[in-house]
């Protein structure tokens, strides 16, 4: 069992909330992607989850219980920046991990290090940023755990190694473990994550299954013959999240019922009504930075 329940998490640094009333339920055996712009509070949330930072209020429960030292036998964590000891060799890091955890498999660790092309006899200070990330990833995935928490696990890695990390995550998912990761590589999130949550300014903006989000969220576009038209009825529909009008072109971001709303738009007099698909990047951009999103949405004719 490995469900994680975050309830009303608040964390203030010097009076400024980095996380501001964030609640999330992460079911077991899921790959969960946490997205958000820089400074959204993702890393802070991870730190609170691991007792590296104490929440100002709110709670985080693992299977209904708060985190205890023993729980760390079941959790593997890859932080965002390198926490390796610069003066120690990779071998010594492997030994350190072996002594710290009972579920660690040194042979598997060396296998992974070889796959990432890391020389285990080197000292950490002689490694590039990507290799340091690779070491932390190898040490984490060589353990037999239920929960993996990965903060930007592909930072500094070349595309081959990035795909490698992705495969490792998918493997964990296939084993029925929970993987929570944050990444700016939306493509990776789209592949690996079953569920995502989008965070911005310490709050939860969006949450759900990736497939459902993609299936439901669409842009309904229509062109009106002249500038004098009203959209009141349509724009007030609860399923219309956003309305963009530029002269005679209207674009509605809908969270469900795209076809129905497209029909309404046609009935209102629009021509060339289209329903456009949104990929995860579009969904993300619309959620956090609508200005950027509107300019960049690539027209993808919906096939539904």
């Amino acid at each position: 069992m490995s469900t994680i329940t975050i309830s009303n998490l608040r964390k203030l640094y010097g009076g400024v909330p980095a996380v501001d009333g964030f609640s999330l339920e992460i079911p077991e055996a899921t790959v969960f992607g946490l997205l958000g712009p820089n400074g959204a509070g993702k890393t802070t949330t991870f730190k609170c989850m691991l007792d590296l930072a104490r929440p100002s209020s709110g709670s985080i429960l693992y299977d209904g219980k708060p985190l205890a030292p023993e729980t760390f036998e079941r959790i593997a964590y890859v932080p965002e920046r390198s926490v390796l000891y610069e003066w120690m060799t990779v071998d010594e890091h492997v030994e350190m991990t072996r002594r710290a955890f009972t579920s660690f498999d040194p042979a598997r660790a060396y296998e992974l290090l070889a796959q990432f092309n890391v020389d285990p006899h080197k000292r950490a200070r002689a490694l590039s940023k990507g290799m340091k990330t690779a070491v932390m990833v190898a040490l984490a995935f060589a353990r037999n755990v239920n929960i993996m928490i990965l903060d930007e696990p592909t930072g500094g890695l070349d595309p081959v190694n990035q795909r490698h990390v992705l495969s490792l995550m998918i493997n964990e998912a296939a084993k029925g473990n929970t993987v929570i990761f944050s990444s700016h590589q939306i493509g990776q999130v789209e592949r690996a994550a079953e569920r995502i949550a989008v965070m911005d300014r310490g709050r939860l903006i969006l949450e759900g299954l990736v497939d459902d989000l993609k299936a439901d969220r669409k842009i309904v576009e229509g062109i009106f013959p002249d500038v004098s038209f009203t959209l009141d009825g349509i724009a007030n529909d609860a399923r219309v999240a956003r309305t963009d009008r530029t002269e005679r072109i209207v674009r509605l971001l809908v969270t469900a019922g795209a076809d129905e709303i497209a029909a309404h738009l046609s009935a209102a007099g629009a021509v060339g009504v289209r329903v456009l698909d949104l990929n995860l990047e579009d969904i993300f951009l619309y959620a956090v930075s609508p200005a950027t999103a509107t300019a960049d949405v690539v027209a993808k004719e919906s096939s539904t």
Partner: protein
């Protein structure tokens, strides 16, 4: 199974739908024969580098649509009558493609006759009639 499956995660189409569509297309075209075994959910997930639950969902829907059948312990197989669906699947795919084309044509303001002319021209290109 031949590596005909590719998925584009950046597309707006959910990955599970892409998988469903591609397996149906493979069955319709005979690339996947009746009774042929499909990869396990886990294996396909690793091959395609996508979430296993996405593959599982695709398989569930294919099973519901009677294209494949799954026996626990043995794996997933194309139904013996799966390819009997082939003409139906072909028709579905063709209709879908034409729908998209016609909708696009309409949205740029073409008339019915203009569309017909374009259609005849395209037909000649793709399905040339033998010179009598």
């Amino acid at each position: 199974m031949p590596a005909v499956l590719t998925v584009d995660p950046r597309s707006g189409v959910p990955i599970y739908l892409q998988i469903i569509e591609q397996i149906r297309r493979s069955v319709a075209l005979g690339v996947l024969q009746a009774g042929e075994q499909l990869p396990t959910v886990k294996q396909l997930a690793i091959d395609l580098t996508v979430n296993p639950n996405t593959v599982a969902r695709a398989y569930r829907e294919l099973e519901r649509d009677r294209v494949i059948e799954t026996s626990p312990g043995r794996g997933s197989f194309v139904r013996p009558d799966g390819s009997a669906e082939a003409p139906k699947v072909g028709a579905e795919i063709g209709r879908g493609a034409l729908d998209v084309a016609l909708r696009e044509a309409k949205s740029v303001g073409l008339t019915r006759n203009e569309v017909r002319d374009l259609f005849e021209a395209g037909l000649e290109r793709w399905f040339p009639t033998e010179a009598a």
